[in-house]
């Protein structure tokens, strides 16, 4: 079966790239799974989302926290563009917890802080924590 070529890119660097069987992401419309030979698609991802990439059967999946991003699918190439992207295994869990607390403290009256809460939650989810 054809494989997907996946690129996860942030403005400053390429975060991850490789081949995969399936990519899961959440766009503004809802959860979306991409399999090989998907039609060309361009979607806006939710703020503070988690992207999962299944490399192949049996191997572990690659999980990344992504925010302010887009997903583009063409000819079995999947590009995830994000203003901010971090792999789950790179997340500093303690630091993310602290950042989440800080954001929660002033989340009630501030839209920006609310978005920050979502971002930190996504980082924690990507690193395998329950939030």
């Amino acid at each position: 079966m054809a494989k997907l070529r996946v690129e996860l890119v942030a403005p400053e660097r390429q975060v991850w790239s490789g081949e995969a069987d399936m990519v899961l992401a959440r766009t503004l419309e809802g959860e979306l799974g991409i399999l090989p030979n998907h039609a060309p698609l361009f979607g806006a991802l939710v703020e503070g989302g988690v992207v999962r990439v299944h490399e192949s059967a049996g191997s572990e999946e690659v999980v990344a926290a992504v925010s302010g991003g887009f997903l583009s699918v063409t000819e079995n190439r999947v590009s995830i563009l994000a203003e901010y992207a971090e792999l789950g295994q790179e997340v500093d869990v303690e630091e993310a917890h602290r950042a989440l607390e800080r954001a929660l403290a002033d989340a009630d009256h501030d839209e920006e802080a609310q978005a920050e809460v979502e971002r930190q939650r996504a980082r924690l989810r990507a690193s395998g924590q329950e939030v």
């Binding site: 690129e7 890119v9 942030a10 403005p11 400053e12 660097r13 390429q14 766009t27 503004l28 419309e29 979306l32 039609a39 060309p40 698609l41 361009f42 979607g43 806006a44 302010g68 887009f70 583009s72 063409t74 000819e75 079995n76 190439r77 590009s79 563009l81 203003e83």
Partner: protein
Amino acid sequence: MGAQLRVIRGRIRSARAMGKITHAQELIASSRIITAQRRAAASAPYAREITRAVSALISYHPDIDHPLLVERSDARRAAMLLLTSDGGFCGGFNANLLREGEALAAKLRDEGKEPVIYVAGRKGIGWYRFRGRDIEREWSGFSGNPSYDRAEQIGQALVAAFSRPEEDGGVGEIHVVYTEFVSMLSQRPVIHRIVPLEVEEVEEGQETGEAGEAAAGGALPLYEFEPSPEEVLDRLLPSYIENRIWHMLLQSAASEHAARQRAMKSATDNANELVETLTRQANQARQAEITTEISEIVGGANALAAATAESE
């Protein structure tokens, strides 16, 4: 030691010390160019993808109207963003850029638009302050090593100004003056209008659009947009503008380091040359001193000899 010789030796010492400093700065600048180029290369994949997406969206949905894409013929105010450096010691880098900026300002005035100045970099801020001109917004402290946050901040400020009506201090156009990094030896200031947007085509060339080879570059894909083309465009365009500014910041940083490296190299060469000339002068002065001393001694001895001969 004679007075002249002492003065010259002092100058040699200071020229040599200056040469050491400029040489160190030259080395620092050349290592930073490499870092800056690497960052520019690392930012390329994102820039490529976002440009493709914007081009595809606009070419397949020409009916979409977005304020950022619409030419305003009645624009009376135009924003100018100048990307200058924070530090000096970089040759004509800032002077060339500011001259280009002045040319743009004159052109805008000819067209009946009032230029509104946005400056990044301490040198540019100083230049405008000294001339007592108004600066709408200024940013500094990152010219040699920009971060994406800065591009975001600048992009948001500019887009916000564009979205306001002109009576409220808004603008109808946004231009950026920055220094393009052509090569290590050549950097040139360029003017670029970012809003209203003209999307630059993807470089790989669009005509070779056989479906099979379209994967790497080639024809723009006929995307489905989720949630809708309008909404995606709404989110995509600000990101695209931030990305263009980010690209310009990186180019400008690489150019700054290259200009500094070149300026410091010629300063080092000059210092070395000066040391050589001064050493020659010092040698001459030293010889002249010795000659004088010898003739004084000989003269003294002769006088003594003459005096003894007389007394006998």
